[in-house]
Symmetry: C2
DNA sequence: ATAAAGTAGTTTATAATATAAACCAAAATT
DNA sequence: AATTTTGGTTTATATTATAAACTACTTTAT
């Protein structure tokens, strides 16, 4: 009945990141930091975890002269997110 | 936009406990352990946390000669659960 | 009647996770 | 040219979850 939730997604910040990336497709570090109201350190750590899991792609480049980190969601990430949402529904009586 | 999630409820086991108690109203330790497939130790710890928060009531008694712990959800717990579900919806694109 | 095994938990220790603090390199500002 | 700001990473610490060990008692088998 109650499905085991993907521990990588059952984290407030990582879930927020994925939720944002699902709707906007691409987002840079600054944007994610603002929208999630997280600290840079925490965001950095969680992006790395999502990247290592293959849920997102992280590209480092420059915007003008300033470094810029751009993130996007992968197919695997989208599927994992959708599965998580469905599994979670079992807990929420939706 | 993205609301801060109640950390007490954003835990797989505690959420499962609350979800079960919402639907059945009363449940004993054994039933919760079976349904959640948790270890007794983890369940014990999480029930105490929910009790301390005033989200559930834990009553210790006996069933025949064996000890029995019966749990039920409080009004505060029900309200917290409902708020959590609503806040979470913002993350899930539902 | 007693030893062994099972029930219903709690407590304590350890592993995993999240968060914050400290740091770094370069750019922009004063 | 010193200071502050930007855009991060790394490391340390606090929190949380999980597992292991223990308690107290009951039931069953010998």
């Amino acid at each position: 009945m109650l499905k085991k939730l993907d521990p990588l997604l059952h984290s407030e910040l990582r879930l927020a990141i994925m939720s944002l990336l699902i709707s906007v497709n691409r987002a840079d570090f600054k944007y994610l930091k603002e929208e999630t109201e997280s600290t840079a350190g925490n965001l950095s750590v969680q992006l790395t975890k999502l990247e290592e899991a293959g849920y997102i792609i992280v590209k480092k480049g420059f915007k003008g002269k300033m470094p810029q980190t751009v993130c996007s969601i992968t197919k695997k990430g989208t599927e994992a997110f959708e599965k998580y949402v469905n599994d979670l529904k079992g807990y929420l009586n939706l």
